[in-house]
């Protein structure tokens, strides 16, 4: 079928060349766009796509569209922009129900009006949507203390290619009725269904916050200090080790080789005690404690540093904490690094020309207990990179789950692990 003939059978609205360009993924352009108004409408739209079948790429705020392998095909840009309401919010219950297309910053603003927050901090909250955060399992630096998306989602409504909307979980913080399908969709990159609504548990904002900065000559002592603090009761809510390029990118001008930045949160007296402890641990590890008043913009910039971006190759290593020294040995000299020791994560920006070599070296160093994922790569480079690495154990089950929920393979085809 020719391109024009195919466009005729595709559901959705025509889009301008400009819109096409804005919604390109790894160099591929969509033919049409579908912008549902709610969960049922999303399911109807997916059903139309399934009948063709048309290949769908799901869009939220677009902050994670560089994640994943190059799609096998791309007909429809399926946007959640028309589903952006805060459906329910009862501050006294510390829960809320949100449509997938709501911007995270808008949700946080609504919660902040009641002194509450969702303690998840993925990059670019002004653009990132709730649904995108869930689908990409996009987390920020606060995961050191508050966990990840899976720890805060208590319910979900998903639109499936069958044309049905199905829910799992619920609106209460403790609930074991039925299977926990929230977990299945978190990080599935929209390959099993389109997340239409998400229910969260939320928390009261902490009474106090502080930052401790320490600078070190080497990365390993800084990583060691962060890992040690993560094992303490007064663990920081974020702990990162960054090289001087990242430090500068985050708005500081000091010429420290390696910086350990610690964010402390809690009740006022707890933060005081945590600051004393953190300072002591930094000194004992051979670091120097620096001035503690820094701009909030530092943490925002650090959070956004690991976001996928157009012309950057960004690699993420996830390893057990004790595996970090071995991984650091494999970090190329020309890489820039942001390390989250409590979570065993090393984010690296590497030059496109040496990305494949770096990836191979890091995969060797991460060993069987770790993994390396390409978070972002320009379209010219990505096809030469193995984005997800070898399929994980249990992959046959994953493929069968995909087959069970998206039998025609219309959802984000080829973008996920093992070609799913």
């Amino acid at each position: 079928m020719g391109v024009e003939a195919r466009a005729k059978v595709l559901p959705g609205h025509q889009i301008s060349v400009e819109q096409q360009r804005l919604m390109s993924v790894d160099g591929l352009l969509p033919s049409k766009v579908i912008r549902p108004s709610d969960a049922q409408d999303a399911a109807r739209g997916l059903r139309q796509c399934d009948l063709v079948p048309a290949r769908v790429v799901v869009w939220g705020g677009g902050t994670q569209m560089r994640l994943g392998s190059v799609p096998r095909g791309y007909d429809i840009a399926f946007s959640t922009a028309g589903m952006s309401r805060l459906l329910e919010y009862e501050p006294a219950d510390l829960t809320c129900r949100v449509e997938a297309g709501m911007r995270l910053s808008e949700l946080q603003a609504a919660l902040a009006a009641h002194g509450q927050r969702l303690p998840l901090d993925p990059p670019h909250p002004q653009r990132a949507t709730v649904g995108g955060m869930v689908a990409a399992n996009a987390n920020g630096l606060s995961r050191a203390r508050y966990g990840t998306v899976r720890d805060w989602v208590i319910g979900i409504a998903v639109a499936y290619p069958s044309g049905k909307v199905a829910r799992a979980g619920g609106k209460v913080v403790k609930n074991v009725a039925g299977y926990d399908l929230m977990k299945l969709h978190i990080g599935a990159l929209g390959t099993l269904g389109v997340v239409a609504e998400v229910n969260f548990k939320i928390q009261t904002r902490p009474e106090a916050q502080a930052t401790v900065l320490g600078h070190f000559d080497g990365a390993l002592p800084a990583i060691g200090a962060a890992a040690r603090l993560a094992r303490e009761y007064l663990a920081p809510s974020a702990a990162i080790v960054i090289d001087r390029h990242v430090l500068w990118a985050c708005g500081l001008t000091a010429d420290w080789r390696w910086t350990l930045a610690l964010r402390l949160e809690g009740y006022a007296r707890e933060v005081d005690a945590a600051r004393d402890l953190a300072s002591r641990v930094v000194r004992e590890a051979g670091g120097r404690v620096e001035g503690q008043d820094i701009l909030a913009a530092f943490w925002d910039a650090a959070r956004d540093w690991s976001a996928p971006a157009d012309e950057v190759v960004l690699l993420r290593v996830i390893t057990p904490v004790v595996g970090l020294p071995a991984v650091m040995v494999a970090v190329p000299a020309d890489a820039q690094a942001l390390i989250q020791p409590p979570s065993g994560i090393v984010d690296l920006r590497v030059p496109a020309t040496t990305a494949a070599v770096a990836l191979e070296g890091l995969r060797g160093a991460a060993g069987a207990d770790g993994q390396v994922v390409v978070l972002s790569a320009p379209p010219s480079v990505k096809p030469s990179l193995d984005v997800w690495g070898p399929p994980p154990p249990g992959f046959p089950i994953m493929r069968a789950l995909k087959q069970a929920l998206d039998p025609n393979g219309i959802l984000n085809p080829g973008r996920f692990v093992g070609g799913i």
């Binding site: 799992a168 619920g170 609106k171 074991v176 039925g178 009261t204 009761y233 994980p392 154990p393």
Partner: protein
């Protein structure tokens, strides 16, 4: 099972686990017909494997023979989760009870499914760490069982339930494969989060043979308070007030008048007998913060109608307060020969009206109902008292249970907070999920278990072989006497 088939299967299973550890003697298998729920069903064969590979081989052997498999450890399920309703083979984990590794640097422990929950925290204590989820049955229930039901406990209010503390699983699948999923010692793995999906799947997808859990540092101090209220409504409002101040307690438990009387008769925890409701509150912290928060909570309690607030001054006093709460279910034996435990959840703000409606059901039906529960997360445990020897009472109590779960669902809550759907609530699951919801869940379980051999007859409504299948040819016997009351703290 036909005798010839049984003999042949038994022979095969003995080849896998050894002569001693597979048996079918009708007298011996009777011990495995029940759990802590009122339902029973006899297994044909009981197997006690010693290794993960043996579990996988047992599962494979059974799957090839088309025989149902039900996993069981401490059998403290209150929802009939381990009752082998379709008979077949019961696998029990009495021999797989080892803590395989404690890795402080990675904040992980690796355990076999038969490890008793409390045993792990006790092993971690000398290092200054613990495993957070603490069902009240933690002295008996196992981590394998906790994974099956995604178990909670009083201290999950602040730190989350089992799934928030499990990072990896090794599972035996009906195919005979033994697969490790999840990040294990790393924070996460690529691909779908099968670990998260499997936790709480009640043994219907595969059988867990090894578990990687997070551990965390023990709080330096735990400050525990008891606040006394004239009635449950005032106490419920106090809970909301405390949460509204921004204090994040580690636990908020409530007991009503009838429960207090039973607990005092059994364990002399020091709860005042004339109270309408008692709140048990706990905060974690470094000493100066715990002290400050304790005072702030005490003040909020008083301002919101508490006639008395008592702060535990020593670890012994703290343990005494908790002993009353954790022994609450067994204390009910003081009031009644039998009781039926419910496990519903409502949004916290709906507690007062839900408790009032439960009270009205009690008044209308004449059955006494006690309430002992996790008030902080709205997880109710109404206990309906009855006498199983009196005709019709058990059936009446089941109807009351249904009505209470409907109330919870209609209030925006759930039909189970931590006990699981099991056998008991297969029909009640319809109060919270539509046919479309259940159809997706059914499709997912069939990916793991296409022939519906893994703990069949559980979770899905419609009885027997799964939600979309035919009902079984016959019912299963109900026990005449519920084996509850007295004894140890077996339940939540």
């Amino acid at each position: 099972m036909e005798p010839a088939k049984l003999d042949s299967l038994l022979r095969q299973l003995r080849e896998v686990v050894g002569e001693r550890y597979a048996f079918a003697d009708p007298y011996e298998v009777r011990l495995y017909q029940y759990d802590a729920s009122p339902e029973t069903a006899l297994p044909d064969i009981v197997v006690i494997p010693g290794t993960a590979q043996e579990v996988a081989n047992v599962v494979k052997t059974c799957a090839e023979a088309g025989v149902p498999i039900t996993a069981r450890s401490a059998a403290s399920s209150l929802a009939g989760g381990t009752v082998p309703v379709e008979h077949g083979v019961v696998i029990t984990f009495a021999r797989m009870d080892q803590i395989l590794e404690i890795d402080i640097e990675n904040l992980r422990a690796v355990v076999q499914p038969g490890v008793v929950n409390l045993a792990l925290s006790q092993a971690l204590k000398p290092h200054g760490y613990y495993y957070v989820p603490d069902p009240s049955s933690q002295g008996a229930c196992t981590i394998g069982g906790n994974v099956g039901t995604n178990a909670g406990g009083p201290h999950t209010l602040l730190y989350g339930v089992t799934v928030n503390h499990v990072t990896g699983l090794e599972i035996a699948l009906p195919s005979g494969d033994l697969v490790q999923v999840g990040g294990r010692k790393a924070a996460e793995a690529t691909g779908y989060d099968l670990t998260g999906l499997l936790v709480g799947s009640e043994g219907t997808m595969g059988i867990v043979t090894r578990i990687w859990v997070k551990i965390q540092p023990l709080p330096p101090v735990q400050k525990t308070l008891m606040a006394v209220y004239p009635d449950v409504e005032t106490a419920s409002n106090a809970v909301s007030a405390i949460v509204g101040t921004g204090i994040l307690p580690a636990a908020i438990e409530m007991m009503d008048k009838l429960s207090i009387q039973a607990i005092e008769a059994a364990s002399h925890a020091g709860y005042p007998l004339d109270a309408g409701a008692v709140l048990l509150l706990e905060v974690d912290g470094i000493p100066e913060v715990a002290e400050e928060l304790g005072e702030r909570m005490a003040k909020v309690c008083r301002e919101n109608g508490a006639s008395e607030v008592r702060v535990a001054r020593s670890e012994a006093e703290r343990q005494a307060l908790w002993k009353g709460r954790k022994g609450a279910f067994s204390a009910m034996g003081r009031l009644s020969s039998d009781f039926y435990v419910m496990d519903g959840v409502v949004p916290r703000t709906k507690l007062p009206e839900t408790l009032a409606k439960i009270d009205a059901i009690s008044a209308r039906t004449g059955y006494k109902i006690c309430n002992v529960f996790h008030a902080g997360d709205g997880n109710l445990h109404p206990l309906v008292l009855f006498d199983a020897f009196k005709a019709g009472q058990y059936e009446a109590v089941l109807r009351i249970g249904d009505e209470i779960l409907k109330l919870c669902a209609d209030a925006g809550g759930s039909v189970t907070g931590e006990h699981g759907i099991g056998l008991e609530k297969r029909e009640n699951i319809r109060y919270v999920f539509s046919d479309d919801d259940l159809e997706v869940m059914d499709r997912i379980r069939r990916v793991f278990d296409p022939h519906l051999l893994m703990n069949p007859g559980k979770v899905f409504p419609g009885e027997g072989r799964g939600h979309s299948a035919q009902p079984p040819p016959s019912g299963y016997p109900r026990r005449q006497v519920a084996a509850v009351g007295g004894g140890d703290d077996l339940w939540v």
